[in-house]
């Protein structure tokens, strides 16, 4: 028998024992407060950051109170003035503490849960129950504009890692009593608070039901980021079917458009459902620009999606299978530059794409200035050296660079990654079958995408199925009054 298994098993049995004890109400707190303190501390594994303060009142003989809390998670001022000072006056009953909210605790599980919520657990000798006082002040960062969704005009606030702060940020935009919140706790180990937020009368019931159904049945062990929720909610592996947002204005706009939001404690990324391709290709900044310029930006973005996925494949197809399709002068120039290149076009293009992807990833991982240095070194110096040494041809580098630049036009990180995958997938097909391969590759991709629906919303709508008027805020962004007129006409 492997002895290493024994401690593992021991741990699992302890967890099971704790849960069964809680379920059968066998983990009651000892009436002797000092023993109960040990019970609570032991249940948490005697953590070093758990503070235990014993208060003996000078005025009243025999008055002893026990305070348990995580020192870094409580508000010191509230603790001193709201809890310790009243306790020093030897109150007769919990009502004399005048602390609100004050909840009573009768089991070890409830006490540990309260502590993990950064509450102060209070036990006074002579009182029957223990009490939890909310003096929590967990550390969190300041509200700043999210670095991945900056806008020139418009609000510059971003979500933070605290769920309640995020909800307040959202309520700033939605001053209506019809905001509905459904709470759910997810993750066996993490007990993470997740809120389903929607607007009553605006979000279709089908959408709420769809999200609720998936949220409540989520078999998650632990939850550290909302991306786990997105993955656990199902849908195709490669096609992003939920939208991430770190901007309160974007989420508020999503709720106003009849979508549902999923907020999770501990992450600034809020999920919006349903998400169609057109939603993922929309940037919050579009609504803070003039309609004409916003429409042009959107067209550029869709063009960028096509270019970044297809341009390298077109280049390979034109050089290998269908040279007659590109103008003769361009073909001759390209061929002339490639005469000394040792690799065939497909290998050369894939190698260059891999190198540029590596540089891009390295630039993202490296901190600040170092990341920029890596990018500059990787792109300028390496590219120049590769051309001069005759390993890579200039047209290949130009093609790859344009494809990479076009990728940055895509506002959603998941769609951007998907575009990268499509780019790699199309190149071999283009090298074997030429233009026919590229067309067929796209047909296959679209054939798969049209099957996808999230919360009854077809992924490619309003283009497929065509919803007349829907394109006014899809490929283009018409002025609001025209969109409303169109909606009135279609209704």
């Amino acid at each position: 028998m492997n002895l290493d298994v024994v401690p593992e098993l021991h741990g699992k049995i302890k967890v099971l024992q704790s849960y069964i004890g809680s379920w059968l109400s066998l983990d009651t707190l000892d009436p002797e407060k000092s023993i109960a303190v040990k019970q609570i501390s032991h249940a948490l594994g005697d953590p070093p950051d758990l503070a235990h303060r014993q208060i003996i009142s000078p005025g009243s003989e025999g008055f002893t109170a026990h305070l348990l809390f995580f020192s870094s998670g409580v508000d010191d001022q509230l603790l001193t003035q709201g809890i310790i000072s009243p306790l020093l006056k030897s109150p007769k009953s919990p009502q004399d503490l005048m602390l609100a909210p004050l909840s009573s605790l009768d089991s070890v599980t409830k006490a540990t849960d309260a502590l993990l919520d950064y509450k102060v657990v209070i036990g006074v000798e002579g009182w029957s129950d223990w009490y939890a006082a909310d003096a929590s002040k967990p550390p969190h960062r300041a509200i700043v504009e999210p670095s991945n969704a900056k806008v020139t005009h418009g609000p510059h606030e971003g979500f933070v890692e605290d769920l309640e702060t995020n909800m307040i940020l959202l309520r700033k935009y939605l001053r209506t009593p019809f905001v509905r919140i459904e709470k759910v706790t997810l993750g066996f180990w993490t007990h993470t608070a997740v809120w389903l937020v929607y607007l009553e009368g605006k979000t279709p019931t089908t959408v709420v039901r769809w999200v609720r159904h998936r949220l409540y049945k989520m078999p998650l062990q632990g939850l550290v980021d909302s991306s786990r929720i997105a993955m656990a909610m199902g849908g195709p592996v490669v096609i992003p079917s939920l939208q991430y947002s770190e901007r309160p204005d974007q989420v508020a706009a999503g709720l106003l458009a009849g979508r549902a939001a999923i907020l999770m404690n501990g992450t600034p990324s809020v999920l919006l459902a349903p998400a169609r391709l057109s939603d993922l290709m929309t940037s919050p900044g579009d609504y803070y620009q003039l309609p004409v310029t916003a429409s042009m930006t959107r067209l550029l973005r869709y063009g960028g999606l096509v270019v970044t996925t297809t341009l390298p494949a077109l280049y390979v197809a034109a050089l290998t299978v269908n040279p007659s399709f590109i103008p003769l002068p361009l073909y001759l120039t390209t061929i002339r530059t490639r005469l000394s290149i040792p690799f065939p076009a497909i290998i050369e293009t894939i190698l260059m794409l891999l190198v540029v992807d590596m540089v891009q990833e390295a630039g993202l991982i490296m901190p600040g200035v170092l990341g920029q240095t890596v990018t500059v070194f990787g792109t300028l110096i390496l590219g120049d050296a590769a051309i001069k040494s005759g390993i890579v041809s200039a047209p290949t580098l130009i093609t790859v660079t344009i494809a990479m630049l076009a990728q940055f036009l895509i506002p959603d990180a998941n769609v951007s990654s998907l575009a990268r995958l499509i780019r790699y997938a199309l190149i071999p097909v283009a090298a074997i079958f030429g233009f026919a391969g590229i067309v067929s590759g796209w047909m296959m991709l679209l054939g798969m995408a049209v099957r996808v629906s999230t919360a009854n919303a077809p992924y490619l709508s309003p283009l497929a199925p065509i919803r007349p008027g829907g394109w006014r805020d899809t490929l283009l962004r018409l002025p609001t009054n025209k969109r409303q007129a169109s909606a009135r006409n279609s209704s």
Binding site: N322, P327, P329, F435, A436, M448, V450, R451, L463, A464
Partner: protein
């Protein structure tokens, strides 16, 4: 009330089941047969096709053959059903032939047809596997693409029309017009395929379904007549009669600038996508029927099997463009299409008689 597809989508799917052939294959055949009378042959084909489609669609009473054969033919329904499926399979071989002819003749000479066939077979399996709503959405996408790219190609083409090409036709031989219209009639009469989609819109009013199908056919007929007139004006009837794909030849003549010398780069991908869509639509019907006959398999499995079965003869059995075109004429025009028409019309007749008998 749940609609699988809308009437608009039914109309577009009916159109999409015909359009790729209308765009590329039919004009050349009409000009080859009728020369200067091609425009009148196209008009005649449109009128005849309209009449046939009305008869076919009315016979179906707004129901698809899937239900129609079962109700009208009783125990013989399964045989009628099998015959219907077999004829559509012959039609699919014709579509493969049409595609390979296009590839082999002029467009993508360096890609082996069987290679492209394999690729398209996989695409068809994916697209047809998306069921009726997936097909309808793909049709929507391709319609948008067709309109945009069609305009991009059409607008420059208008500048190449030469009025002296419109030589008046002297009625020397009415037979040539009749000959030229026969093949287009069989293609424009493909509501025998479109009515199969009636199952997906069964919650709509039967009359509205019939109207939608007819409108889909009419759009394709209008496109054919317009296209023949356009080619007539650009190439002239003699030159157009020499070409298998005159529209492609006309598009190649477009010279916007020395740089943009190959305008067909816009048209060829569009046509390829359209023919893949057409194949997927046809496969969907055949596969559903086959699945029902054998009571086994999934849409994707049967698409794969029947795709392989039809791809093999098209890839290897016909070595030349001429033999492919000959097969298409002989099999589709003289065997498969008449049988399909007879089957659907007699279904309608039997249904009518039974209804009268019960009354």
């Amino acid at each position: 009330m749940k609609h699988y597809v809308s009437l608009r989508q039914l109309r577009l799917m009916q159109m999409m089941a015909i359009l790729p052939t209308t765009l590329v294959f039919l004009p050349g055949q009409i000009f080859a047969q009728s020369r200067s009378g091609a425009f009148y042959a196209a008009l005649l084909a449109a009128v005849l096709a309209y009449a046939i489609n009305i008869a076919v669609i009315k016979s179906a009473h707004g129901a698809s053959p899937f239900r129609l054969f079962k109700i009208s033919w009783g125990k013989l329904g399964i045989w009628a059903y099998s015959a219907y499926t077999l004829c559509l399979l012959l039609g699919i071989i014709s579509i493969w032939n049409e595609l390979f002819t296009f590839l082999q003749a002029s467009v993508l000479p360096r890609t082996p047809p069987w290679g492209v066939g394999l690729l398209i077979w996989a695409v068809t399996a994916v697209v047809a596997g998306g069921d009726i709503s997936g097909l309808a959405r793909m049709t929507d996408l391709l319609t948008i693409g067709s309109v945009i790219l069609g305009l991009v190609v059409l607008l420059p083409l208008l500048g190449y029309i030469r009025m002296d090409n419109f030589v008046p036709w002297t009625p020397s031989s009415l037979g040539s017009i009749w000959q030229g219209s026969l093949l287009p009639v069989t293609f424009l009469g493909e509501s025998v395929v479109g009515i199969a989609f009636n199952d997906s819109v069964r919650e709509h009013d039967p009359r509205r379904r019939q109207r939608a199908l007819l409108q889909g056919t009419c759009i394709s007929a209008a496109v054919l007549v317009g296209l023949v007139a356009l080619i007539w004006g650009i190439l002239g009837s003699s030159l157009a009669g020499e070409e298998n794909f005159p529209i492609l030849e006309a598009i190649r003549d477009i010279r916007l600038s020395p740089f943009l010398s190959r305008f067909d780069i816009v048209f060829v991908p569009l046509w390829l996508a359209l023919i893949e869509m057409k194949l997927a639509l046809w496969f969907y019907i055949v596969v559903r029927a086959t699945k029902r006959i054998f009571r086994w398999g999934t849409l994707t499995t049967w698409t794969a099997i029947l795709g392989a079965v039809t791809l093999a003869p098209s890839s290897f059995a016909f070595p030349s463009v001429a033999s492919r075109v000959e097969y298409l004429k002989q099999t589709w025009m003289t065997i498969a299409f008449p049988i399909l028409i007879i089957l659907v019309l007699s279904s309608g007749l039997m249904g009518h008689l039974r209804k009268g008998h019960h009354e």
